[in-house]
Symmetry: C2
Subunit: 711 residues, 2 copies
């Protein structure tokens, strides 16, 4: 199959995906919204989410504009090696990513109230509505990415007449997506945890009122946060991983050289597009398998989700084998099949181990719960240790997948492994985006005093959401690491394209491994995730503090608020969270873009003079590898420690170890407070950091490469 046919197929599938998303959207919106009270609450959440996203997108639009102008300007520099099409791809990527996040959130804040109402009728109806809203975002993300990449690539090839340059310009698409994602993840992450921690500290701890109690002025902000952080942020994050893995595969197919001899370059370019296309269609089909029956317990609910995911994985595996055998790969077909499947299996395994370390049904989290009897200090130590230990499985899995994939298909193998891992995103992301909707549904049920049995159902749905969220986070990190590795491979390969001497000429291995710029680059790269996490954690703390003060002020000044007579000023808390998040997301975002750009410029400027002793293109390679290692570890540790603390607390609240109000429970709440920014702000932001560093480098690689002509 040639590229034109593959793009045609991909476009058809992309359009089918968009139509399916529209269909699911209509299904969700056609559901009953319930009572007036429920509508009011939902409307407040919708206003808050809308307000945040508008503010965020306005702020980000300015940055997108600046970067677009910069990219366009660079492309006009004589001999920069960059194409103006990179700027075009950047804008399209940013728009597509922004649109995915927006629509995902649009539907999520409307599905929450409808899920609550549907749960009044049955558990299955609740699950269906919530899950359908998740599929809206997931199919939007996958369809837009697939449409964008395939249409841009074929256009660029026609325009530039050269697949390598086209692939290089295509990196702009991923860059555009990541630029939105970094702000969505960091800003949304700060928002959600500031509101959550702030609401809990005063509401639960000081005033002793339950979570989601309508008397708590921060409760609407808390519910808004679930959507802006977990839905929009997660959507942009995975949009980017998905797009970048395909772009890296196309790029490496073009530049890596192993496909040149037997003329299989086009097959290697077409393969990731076709795998992604098939994955989209399969995910849509598999999403119909997610359903349950009344009175289903946690295990059965989880089983229904798993049926969907595992069926999709099984089907895509078959398609990968067929594609690998039928495309003209010469003698590399078996190798490419193995590489792609290794990523698919690796993704499933990472999900499993994440669940093992964070679910209260397994040993680690049960031991963590038990340690709460030793007090807050002990539970924090144990949780940190659990998070650290949990890095073992994902790292070993990524290492094995990488070794297997490269042994079979070189660097291209890493990229298609990432494509394989993400091929079922159309359904895995749906299970993830479902979580906040179920969580909000529970909140709305609580706030509108729905009957006990409805809340039991929404609790069951919410609890399922927590598990899928943890698994989804593990998957997001693992795929981010694979994607970043593939992007780094594409960057290094691009750096030496055309015989550029950016990395020097052939050398003794020992000299290169001990190159001081490279080694110090590793240190700087290792440092970035720590600084980045420190900034985001402090941002959450600061913003939460403001919410705490505002809630205390309202409790003090608004008369009758505790008796339900006075109306809390929800908008004020929403505004505070929004302001803090927008203000504090800028520095981390600018660091993530600024460091590689700044280093690249210094490396170019330092060529041949004293500055070059300290910084060179290889420094940036060191930064990418160092940050990859360090961010991967930290992200897994934070996500899993956070998930385990959360579930340990819930385990105690379920009546174990003295239940709610016991000393063990108080200790577990401290752990959960620490875990909140870990798992929902800093940890997830690291995914984007590592991908952003790599994709920015890839975008500017031609600039560096052309500054160092062949010797």
């Amino acid at each position: 199959m040639d590229m034109n046919s593959a793009v045609t197929v991909a476009v058809v599938a992309g359009v089918i995906g968009l139509l399916f998303a529209l269909y699911q959207r209509s299904f969700v919106l056609s559901q009953d919204e319930g009572s007036e009270r429920m509508k009011q609450i939902a409307a407040a959440i919708q206003r808050g989410a809308q307000a945040f996203l508008s503010r965020e997108y306005r702020a980000v639009a300015i940055l997108v504009l600046i970067v677009t102008v910069a990219l366009a300007g660079l492309s006009q520099l004589p001999g920069s090696g960059m194409s103006i099409l990179t700027a075009v791809a950047f804008v399209v990527g940013a728009l597509a990513s922004g649109l995915s996040g927006y629509i995902g959130m649009y539907i999520a804040v409307r599905a929450n109230v409808r899920t609550a109402q549907a749960a009044s009728r049955s558990l299955n109806r609740g699950l269906r509505v919530a899950f359908a809203s998740g599929t809206v975002m997931s199919t939007m993300v996958v369809s837009l990415a697939l449409l964008g990449i395939s249409l841009l690539f074929i256009t660029f090839v026609n325009q530039l007449g050269d697949a390598a340059q086209a692939a290089s310009a295509l990196a702009g698409f991923g860059f555009g997506g990541t630029s939105i994602a970094i702000f969505a993840r960091v800003g949304g992450g700060i928002y959600t945890k500031a509101a959550d921690v702030g609401a809990d500290l005063v509401g639960k701890t000081e005033a002793g009122i339950p979570e989601d109690d309508p008397r708590n002025p921060a409760t609407i902000a808390d519910n808004v946060g679930d959507n802006v952080g977990d839905v929009a942020g997660m959507g942009s994050d995975l949009f980017e991983s998905y797009a970048s893995s395909i772009i890296a595969a196309i790029s490496l197919a073009t530049t890596a050289g192993i496909f040149v001899d037997d003329g299989s370059i086009e097959a290697a370019q077409v393969f990731p597009i076709l795998v992604a296309t098939a994955g989209l269609v399969i995910s849509i089909i598999a999403s119909f398998l997610v359903k349950t029956e009344e009175g289903a317990d946690q295990e059965r609910l989880l089983g229904s989700i798993r049926t969907g995911i595992y069926s999709a994985s099984g089907l895509i595996a078959v398609v990968i084998i067929i594609l690998g055998l039928s495309l003209p790969f010469g003698d590399k077909n078996i190798g490419i099949i193995i590489a792609t499947l290794s990523g698919l299996v690796g993704g499933v395994l990472i999900g499993y181990f994440t669940e093992y370390f964070t679910a209260a049904t397994y040993g680690p989290t049960q031991a963590l719960s038990a340690s709460a009897e030793g007090g807050a200090g002990i539970v924090v130590i144990r949780g940190l240790a659990l998070g650290m230990m949990s890095t073992l499985a994902p790292v070993i899995i990524v290492v094995l997948v990488t070794l297997l994939a490269t042994s079979q298909a070189g660097l291209y193998g890493v990229a298609v492994a990432a494509v394989g891992m993400l091929s079922t995103l159309g359904i895995t992301l749906a299970t993830d985006a479902y979580g906040p909707v179920a969580d909000n549904a529970g909140g709305i049920a609580e706030m509108s005093d729905l009957p006990e049995e409805v809340r039991d159902r929404t609790d069951a749905l919410d609890s399922l959401g927590n598990t899928t969220a943890a698994t989804g986070k593990g998957f997001a990190i693992g795929s981010a690491a694979m994607t970043a590795l593939a992007l780094t491979a594409a960057f290094i390969t691009a750096l030496t394209a055309g015989g550029s001497s950016a990395l020097g000429s052939a050398v003794n291995p020992a000299d290169l491994l001990l190159n001081p710029q490279f080694v110090t680059g590793l240190f700087i790269g290792g440092l970035l995730p720590f600084v980045f996490s420190a900034l985001t954690m402090v941002a959450v703390g600061d913003a939460a503090q403001q919410i705490v003060e505002e809630v205390r002020r309202q409790f003090r000044e608004i008369k009758g608020i505790m008796e339900g007579a006075g109306e809390p000023d929800y908008e004020r808390c929403v505004a505070i969270s929004t302001d803090s998040a927008i203000r504090q997301m800028l520095l981390p975002g600018v660091i993530a873009v600024g460091v590689p750009v700044g280093m690249a410029l210094l490396a170019v400027v330092g060529k041949g003079n004293i500055l070059g002793e300290f910084i060179a293109p290889i420094s940036l390679v060191g930064v990418l590898l160092g940050s990859l290692v360090s961010a991967f570890m930290l992200a897994v540790m934070m996500a899993n420690a956070g998930g385990a603390w959360d579930n340990a607390k819930k385990h105690i609240e379920a009546g174990n170890l003295g239940g709610k109000g016991s000393d063990a429970h108080k200790a577990a709440v401290v752990g959960d407070t620490v875990g909140d920014p870990f798992k929902d702000t800093s940890g997830p932001s690291l995914n984007i950091l590592l991908k952003l560093l790599a994709i920015v480098s890839l975008v500017i690689a031609p600039l560096i490469g052309s500054a160092f002509p062949p010797i």
Copy 2:
């Protein structure tokens, strides 16, 4: 100056150092031990420390024996490239390190009671006794390392007739030292924190009795812990950094090649020995400058310590310049001076920034204290963020030192920078080893009801010790990172000695940077510190839990214990801490030695077959670089977060933010509990982990190298 003369000078200085240590020992032992009660308490601490060290050394002796036999056996394998002298050096290194730790602790547990008694007379007398005991260990460490290295090196050169092989065998000395250090740090670290946390949890929190109260059955174990963890562990740790930095410099002088052309190899070998020799003599002189007067405040006490350290730094800088100018380095003399001085300055700067981030007199720890008003969760989040942010300065400093040193003198520059950083260890380590003595003196004063004014003096001395301990930890980590970097450089260089193809032949840089074995090695290396920290943190938690149960049991079963009528069973708590520490130190220790050995063996076995696709000598290079980056970050983060939590708690206890017993204080205590294993167990153990991985690799490098003959 030739090697024979340099060794003569070093031996003379080493002997002077030992005599000075003996003199200081007599000075300390000649002091008054105070009342019978004080003698009794001190005797209990001495017994406990002795018991622990005997148990530890017995356990370690078996491992040392096994490793010695393995090294000797390997050297007999035909074509292994290893010398039997490596095994000899290993045993000598282990003995010297063990002896340093033993004598340091021997004097520390005798100086504590004498310091308490001396403080009854004046603050200056207390300071002098405590500091003198610190100099016993510091000069022992430095003298034994210097004697061992210089005598072994010249003997090996004579025996083997080849400086490169002699340098290679000398690595065994560092390996021997590190083998003791890993168990001393991990075992001692577990002991000290298990006893401390356990004593506090029941004593302070449940029973409401003060720290060091004689009614607390764990109080003797707590005091023993200060010595076995902080004195013996720190001594073995820095013995190893010190020895390894010199060994790496000698090794790189011999193998790195830049000194071959102008025949300056011998100068380059002699230089680190002479710098170290001068540093020892200067440290002894400078230690006489440490004194104070009655009524000195914290600032003045710190000033007296700083006078000693800064004078030593200034003097050694002059000596480094003179040596650099007078040795026949050809045109490289200025470069070598700059490289060595950059390390010296870097060490001082790292100490300064550590203090900035952890002392309550600066912004970060004050902000941390203030955040305690937000509750335990917030103070933990802030402390973690502070620790993460504090990695910035040391990393940038190490990066700049590395770039400067290598730009001036290649890889040899990194090694002499480490030698420069550690050149004043004779005094910096004394300020460190002083801390636990002062801490114990305070405990003994408390337990024996000495007058208020004496306790004020011991409190002042203790508080100073906390600051020097934090600075010392920063310095230990920074120097460990520099040393490990130098060792890694020596390893990589040794791997390719004699044209070995262990790392392959000259290649395109892009291919090497993306070598999958290398990149996955980085991941595995990055992972190890996380797993290692998880193991040590859990070990502390488990051991503390046992202490808690034992103390609760004694409070329950021993009649009249709370009224002071019944005698607590101190020995039982000492035994429990000892047993736990010995049992739990083994796995982390075995991992640290086993991973590089196992990988090296697999790499050799996998040569030329399918296994070789997954593991190769370059995998181990990746592991070393990955663990270096990751362990450095984690170690700094843990040490500084721990130090800041400790001081934030003390800041509140000093009457700020509501003082003792306030909610803020309770929150700060949680932070301190988390910080305890961070700063005293897991963090410091990482120093050894990263050095041990590197030195084990260096020791077995000839084995790997000879398995891959030149192509």
